[in-house]
Symmetry: C2
DNA sequence: CGATTATTGGAGCGGACACTCCAGCAATGC
DNA sequence: GCATTGCTGGAGTGTCCGCTCCAATAATCG
């Protein structure tokens, strides 16, 4: 009762949480959300189910937490891009940021998971939509600036243009996750051409 | 024993098979493969489980049969395109063919199913790969012809070019399945621009 | 140390799901 | 009409999986 309060090291807690999340991410990427069992995640993380459900209320929470990690990062990247002076350079930096995780082979399959689950879990869909919207609105603004200064001319409105650029970056993940033999750098080179030609810009 | 052989109407059998397959397709599109139960399919098709498993050995067989329907169609389309005189017109016709099903809202979600299952069911992956390869090889040949006659110049080798064009058509399905509010015709218009600019062709 | 409380692994529970089984039915041939 | 056989629905079955529960342990305090 009046006893000794045991204070907990919050760093260890957070680290273990992340460790489990990383394991879950690998499992989801490999087998998809529905097909991975919580036992899979436990085995991959090297913990028991008691531990897993101590840190996360249920399997769905694992997925949500995993993509909440992205949200902050994406928003920050978007903000940084908007602060840059040269809009075209900023746009390219943002695009590069979007494909930055393309080399993380262990997590490529998560694109499929997002596509599948977003159409079935409304809350998850909202999370993903929020994350993507942050990036897209920044992208839209940059496209607008570039168009006004004449270095870009897609012939479509800025919002649609931004949205398509975003989709094209997604394609790279999709292609790489579907075909292991593709060369990452070659794919990125083609992406660059596809986007720059779509935008009708010099670089 | 020596009894009366009862001959069966094969048309009815085939029709019922297709009816069940269509129902399965709608279910898979809506909820994904793993999350749809065989009971879902039965309810959607209006049959009992006895009937379902009389026509298909298991749930996986439903998925396989569903995409085997596509295989013949795609191969035929590819062949027809190769037979055309004008390679550029043929290329565009083939692209149009690839996005022909884009208006079938009930089945849009199947893209996600393919992505997810192909990475986990080797036999299914092989089926999908075969189907896509047929189209891609035709697309590759058309790109080659167009490049030789100078009406196309992507700056990348024909195979990679074809593969990316194919991916871009997939994007349309993905975008429409993820956002109901998008306008189909507007999307197709952007796709046209994206592809023609990537190919650096006149039309 | 000893007291207290967070953390841990794993046994096990309840429910759901893919698939089977079978008894009645419908369709065919004579 | 009758015999035969395929077709059909739904009740049932074994298995698996998400999650709970708990006893044991580890960490932190005075």
């Amino acid at each position: 009762m009046s006893g000794v309060a045991r204070t907990v090291d919050p760093e260890k807690h957070a680290a273990r949480r992340l460790h489990i999340l990383a394991a879950a991410g690998r499992c989801f990427s490999r087998k998809g959300f529905d097909a991975t069992t919580t036992a899979d995640v436990c085995a991959e993380a090297g913990v028991g189910s008691g531990t897993l459900f101590h840190y996360f209320t249920n399997k769905r929470a694992l997925l949500h937490a995993l993509f909440e990690l992205d949200e902050a990062e994406q928003a920050e990247r978007a903000e940084r891009a908007l602060a840059e002076a040269d809009p075209l350079a900023a746009l390219w930096r943002l695009v590069d940021g979007l494909v930055a995780d393309v080399r993380e082979r262990d997590y490529l399959g998560l694109v499929g998971v997002v596509i599948q689950q977003a159409s079935r879990d409304a809350e998850f869909a909202a999370l993903v939509a929020r994350t993507e919207a942050a990036t897209r609105s920044a992208l839209t603004e940059l496209v607008r600036r570039c168009t006004e200064s004449g270095v870009v001319d897609s012939g479509h409105d800025a919002e649609a243009t931004a949205s398509w650029v975003q989709s094209m970056t997604d394609v790279v993940y999709l292609r790489l996750s579907g075909d292991e033999s593709l060369d990452v750098d070659a794919e990125l080179a083609v992406l660059h051409d596809v986007v720059s030609r779509f935008l009708r810009c010099a670089a």
